[in-house]
């Protein structure tokens, strides 16, 4: 495995792709998102796994997105996601609401290669009422009336996330955030940014193997130091709460958001993380 340059990784995300992104507490590929903004990506259909944060709001504000399927969009303690809310109100994006376990379940169905999986709950929720692709059936194993929801398998075109490290075999290490393995298993292609490339084979190390996603699932890797910034990466660095608050303030208006892009996103990377 030879790591790509970040821009080359961003070039592997075609316009119009169904792009799955983890939320701010689970290794989002924020430096890749900034590279997608610089590239001028168009028509992306984002999937929040299972919710969405900074990267989604940034891509929406920059005009890269036509639809978002997610269970919530939030900047955590910094509040609501302003560009998401503005785009919804303006009608420039389509929002497909889900609920967290449904997104996990749809990905698990794709991971298993089965057409659907059932999930409890959801009945009488308006989220279900607005999902013609989710079906209520009678539990076929029950004699008593027992309606249950079936969810279709969901296979993202691309999954992207930021891992702590990769090895030269293309395996990547995500620590305890092993839900990313389900995402990588379900997606057609997984693109991963990492802090560093390490020698040796992560899968040969008993203590690292459980937190490792096999290179079988990984299409390409690029090194992006502090690539999750302004959010946290495992125990390596914390959330830059001041920056997220600055983003949330700036992004209240399109003008403020454009100023944010000019300052933190459009310049070639490195100084943006200072």
């Amino acid at each position: 495995m030879t790591p790509l340059a970040l821009d080359a990784l961003a070039a592997l995300v075609p316009d119009g792709a169904l792009l799955a992104l983890p939320p701010d507490n689970s290794l989002p590929p924020n430096e890749l998102a900034r590279a997608l903004v610089r590239r001028g990506a168009k028509g992306l259909r984002l999937l929040g796994v299972p919710v969405s944060g900074y990267a989604t709001d940034l891509l929406i504000g920059a005009g890269c997105v036509t639809s978002v399927q997610t269970s919530a969009v939030t900047l955590g303690e910094a509040g609501l996601a302003p560009r998401f809310s503005a785009a919804l109100k303006a009608g420039t994006i389509t929002v497909i609401d889900a609920t967290c376990p449904a997104i996990h379940t749809m990905l698990q169905a794709a991971e298993k290669g089965v057409p659907f999986m059932p999930l409890r709950g959801l009945l009488r929720s308006d989220v279900l009422a607005h999902r013609p692709d989710w079906r209520i059936v009678q539990n076929p194993l029950s004699e008593a009336p027992d309606p249950i929801v079936l969810l279709p398998a969901l296979q993202p075109d691309i999954a992207a996330f930021h891992a702590a490290c990769a090895d030269w075999h293309g395996n990547v290490w995500v620590g305890r955030r092993r839900e990313l393995a389900t995402l990588a298993h379900a997606a057609r292609r997984s693109l991963v940014t990492v802090e560093r490339v390490v020698d040796g084979d992560l899968l040969e190390d008993e203590r690292m193997a459980a937190g490792t996603i096999s290179g079988t699932y990984i299409e390409a890797v690029a090194v992006a130091e502090r690539g999750a910034w302004p959010v946290a990466l495992l125990d390596e660095y914390g959330t830059d709460a001041a920056h997220l608050a600055e983003y949330a303030r700036a992004a209240r208006t399109d003008e403020g958001f454009q100023g944010y892009l000019a300052r933190y996103v459009m310049p070639p990377r490195a100084q943006a993380a200072e």
Binding site: L80, L88, A102
Partner: protein
């Protein structure tokens, strides 16, 4: 002594609900996104010496899950989570909650973050404590515009439980599966101010007590070990509520 902060009173009130012996036992409590006051209540219960397992989804270091929130929902599906917390941009008198938004679907007038796991958790968990600090007719409405998760379900729908209570910045309501009952009003509030600020109808007993303040012991725990547990996940909340306290 530093006066009791409203957040401390709310945390202590929620802790008493968690420990309510009339409710199903709470051996394992999960706390989701952006819930500093419920998290403080859970830590208070723990530091009061009750052997409850806490799973705080948003804890970065020492997060209890090795498969993220997927594991939380699987645990709840199995019946291994006894108590959860939910809020709502709108909550109505049948304990329906709306986290999507107001106006036409999907929140064209005012968009909230979204439903998170509520459409599943509210039905899968035996006890839910609803929590919303803002207590106004804007939030507590006769009927939610959008149902993220229903407060009640028909008997043929799989469901383990519903709301135990609704805690707001003005009062505590109990929920019996049909309607809310005013259980206590916080200091500075009256049954009349609560009625004025509530958009839905509820039962009001002839005598409604005042929500008790945290005991000196509880206050000491909140300002000491509970705050220490909270600092990493909720730094801004800790700075706001406990500003000036020695670390």
């Amino acid at each position: 002594m530093r006066p009791v902060q409203p957040e401390e009173r709310l945390a202590a009130a929620i802790a008493r609900l968690i420990l309510d012996s009339a409710a199903p036992p709470a051996r394992h409590i999960a706390v989701g996104a952006a819930s500093p006051i419920p998290a403080a209540a859970c830590w208070l219960v723990r530091h009061l010496g009750h052997p409850v397992r806490l799973s705080l989804l948003h804890r970065r270091q020492g997060n209890p899950f090795t498969e993220g929130s997927r594991e939380l929902f699987d645990l709840a599906g199995q019946g291994r989570i006894d108590l959860f917390f939910l809020g709502g941009g709108q909550i109505d008198g049948q304990a329906n909650i709306n986290l999507v938004g107001t106006g036409e679907w999907p929140g064209r007038t005012a968009r909230f973050p979204g439903s998170f796991g509520s459409a599943f958790m509210y039905l899968a968990v035996p006890r839910t404590i609803l929590f919303r600090e803002e207590h106004s007719r804007r939030v507590l409405v006769p009927r939610v515009d959008i149902v993220s998760a229903p407060g009640v379900s028909p008997p043929e729908h799989w469901r383990r439980g519903s709301a135990q209570a609704l805690v707001t910045g003005r009062c505590v309501f109990g929920f019996d599966g049909t309607r809310f009952t005013l259980a206590s009003v916080h200091p500075g509030q009256t049954t009349a101010t609560v009625r004025e600020a509530t958009g839905f109808d509820y039962h009001e007993p002839a005598s409604v007590p005042t929500t008790p303040d945290p005991t000196p012991d509880e206050l000491g725990l909140l300002r000491g070990p509970v705050r220490a547990e909270m600092l990493e996940t909720y730094p801004e909340f800790c700075a706001r509520v406990w500003e000036g306290l020695a670390a």
